[in-house]
């Protein structure tokens, strides 16, 4: 069982800074032909001002500005060197750049897989579809895998693979932020009376996600982390458990029988029932060998910190 550490350092760290990496070069804003509407008294209240400003800032950069130069000048002052609309556009660019940067922090391997341009287009489509409704960005990217399956731009390459990869990367974010407890140790395991084993249930580390994929995404993830530029893989089922032990996030690939057993354990099945799942997945293998294999898996999972306690 190979396991790999995830060397995530910075994860959508918030700052009061304005993003400098404004990815999209901008031409001068176009002046719509329509005349600037005169704001009503209600539209000029603090509430009305904020609603207007937010609409202007959040309009996708692929679209013409929601307002024109004349309308901007009715509400904002020109600066020494920039018009009112040019000044407002700084906020529009900053809004999109900040959220794209956040998604790039969450999905660095997806970015490598798709390429910078396709990834940025994907993120901008995501931002347009899913404006943030939380003061925290920690969970902002949680819908990316679903978005890739249903809603991403048609030109996004290999959407099914990308969705699997996004699911793996999001599970890393989740376990970083999930609470965790002191893990069960092999010594702790040894204190369970022999007669209690079959009916015992294991309580999993809450900073753990078990997933099955259509593509070998964890292997791809590791290749990218190792500095390679692998081709996008073909369909080939895989399963991975992602978990955190202390500050360190780990990924461990599982065979299908391992997945079945671990899934049973995580679902709260008694040990005997969960371990019995291995027999179904290892048809034709000698029962003694099955027992040895399962015991080996089980000890490795406990030693890795996948469980926090046993309930007898």
């Amino acid at each position: 069982m190979n396991r790999h550490v995830v060397d995530v350092v910075a994860l959508h760290e918030r700052a009061s800074a304005t993003p400098e990496a404004l990815a999209r070069p901008r031409s001068a804003p176009r002046e719509p032909s329509r005349a600037a509407p005169t704001p009503s008294a209600e539209e000029l209240t603090l509430r009305g001002t904020q609603l207007w400003f937010q609409r202007a800032v959040t309009t996708p950069e692929s679209e013409e500005s929601a307002i024109g130069e004349r309308e901007a000048a009715t509400r904002l002052t020109a600066g020494p060197r920039l018009t009112a609309l040019e000044r407002l556009e700084i906020y529009r660019r900053g809004y999109h750049a900040r959220l794209v940067e956040c998604l790039a922090d969450d999905y660095p391997v997806l970015q490598a897989a798709l390429g910078a341009s396709a990834f940025e287009a994907l993120c901008r489509a995501y931002v347009a579809r899913h404006p943030s409704e939380s003061p925290s960005l920690n969970a902002y990217g949680r819908l990316m895998a679903d978005f890739l399956r249903d809603g991403a731009p048609d030109e996004t390459p290999s959407r099914a693979f990308a969705a699997d990869l996004a699911a793996l990367e999001w599970s890393i974010v989740e376990v970083i932020h999930a609470a965790s407890s002191e893990p069960l140790t092999l010594e702790g395991l040894g204190r369970i009376p022999a007669e209690a084993w079959a009916g015992a249930r294991l309580v999993a580390n809450t900073a753990l996600r078990l997933q099955r994929f259509e593509y070998p995404v964890n292997a791809f993830f590791q290749q990218v982390r190792d500095g390679a530029s692998p081709a996008l893989p073909s369909l080939s089922p895989s399963a991975t458990v992602v978990y955190r032990s202390g500050p360190t996030v780990w990924r461990m690939d599982l065979t299908e029988p391992m997945f079945q057993v671990l899934q049973g354990l995580l679902a709260g099945e008694a040990l005997a029932a969960a371990l019995g799942r291995a027999e179904a997945g290892l048809a034709g293998v000698d029962p003694v060998e099955i027992g040895q294999r399962v015991t080996h898996w089980f000890r490795e999972w406990v030693a890795s910190g996948l469980f926090v306690r046993v309930e007898i």
Binding site: V9, A10, L11, E13, R14, A15, S16, A17, T18, P19, E20, A21, P39, L44, T45, L46, R47, T49, Q50, L51, F53, Q54, V57, T58, A73, R75, L76, T77, G79, P80, R81, L82, A84, E86, R87, L88, I90, Y91, G94, Y95, R98, L99, C102, P131, S132, E133, S134, P135, S136, L137, N138, A139, I176, H177, A178, A179, S180, R244, P247, V249
Partner: protein, 280 residues
């Protein structure tokens, strides 16, 4: 200490950033204090708190937020306030700060520090909310002047300069101030005023902390990018503000292209080359 709130002068600190976690925990560098970005430790129960607990146990910390949205016309987010207070209690933070801005409205969040119109209506609105937050925290809230790239015309309403708004707000709400001298410099360039005019209006007995940072000059405007190092003109503003405050905690923010901790700390300590060299 010289501020009216009795908050301590912590020395010269740096903003806590994740790239420095391991270095700090492993080597315990001789840094006076750390400012934590409150929002990086909220909506999480995991690894960020693992490091924060270790660092807050060793160093004085203050909390600096970007998500309070004190100027929004949406209702105050009580869940956010509860989490903010719990984090303050967990870390023993010496004070809590956020920005004079709004971040979203109608349930949306732009995650940007958006500029308020500096009108009488906004003044009353923000003062009410600052008082509510301070009542909730049981402590003064320090509000920071933002970098801005645009100013509201205000329609028929009279608008006032930011420095007047900030001074009147701090008086009306009896709140503390976090004066970011880089933001003063940035906004002064972007809007065409003299940064000393701004400083002349600041009620320094309310200033509990100074911020300094690098920025990016684009010719037509300056972005508050927090990419260091800090230019000497900003250091000189810091020294002036420090003298007028009669001594106050200083903090360097560095948020992009962040060097290792010794280099970041060395940049922060440049403050000592300037402090005491100018007359108030």
């Amino acid at each position: 200490m010289s501020n009216r709130f009795g908050l301590p002068e912590l020395g010269v600190g740096i903003g806590l950033r994740t790239v420095h976690y391991s270095h700090i925990v492993d080597t315990q560098p001789d840094v006076d204090w750390f400012e934590i970005l409150s929002d990086n430790y909220m909506h999480t129960a995991g690894r960020p708190l693992h490091y924060l607990d270790a660092i807050a146990a060793r160093y004085p910390v203050a909390m600096h937020g970007v998500g309070l949205s004190i100027g929004s016309t949406d209702p105050l987010d009580r869940a956010y306030l509860r989490e903010l207070r719990a984090l303050r209690d967990r870390t023993g933070a010496r004070w809590v700060s956020d920005h004079l801005c709004w971040t979203g409205v109608a349930g949306k969040n732009t995650h940007d520090l958006l500029p308020l119109p500096y009108t009488e209506e906004a003044l009353l609105h923000v003062a009410d909310r600052v008082r509510a937050v301070q009542d909730f925290l049981g402590a003064p809230l320090a509000l920071e002047n933002p970098s801005t790239y645009v100013e509201h015309a205000g329609g028929a309403a009279r608008t006032m300069p930011e420095w007047e708004f900030l001074a009147r707000l701090s008086e009306a709400a009896d709140c503390a101030l976090l004066l970011d001298v880089n933001n003063v410099f940035v906004s002064a360039y972007n809007h065409g005023f003299d940064p000393r005019t701004y400083l002349d209006a600041v009620p320094f007995d309310r200033v509990v902390q100074l911020h300094v940072a690098g920025h990016t000059h684009h010719g037509t405007h300056i972005l508050d990018s927090h990419i260091g190092p800090v230019i000497d003109d900003v250091w000189r503003l810091l020294a002036l503000a420090h003298a007028r405050a009669g001594g106050v905690s200083v903090l360097l923010e560095w948020d992009a292209e962040i060097p290792d901790l010794p280099a970041t700390h060395a940049e922060a300590l440049r403050a000592r080359e300037f402090i005491g060299k100018v007359a108030a």
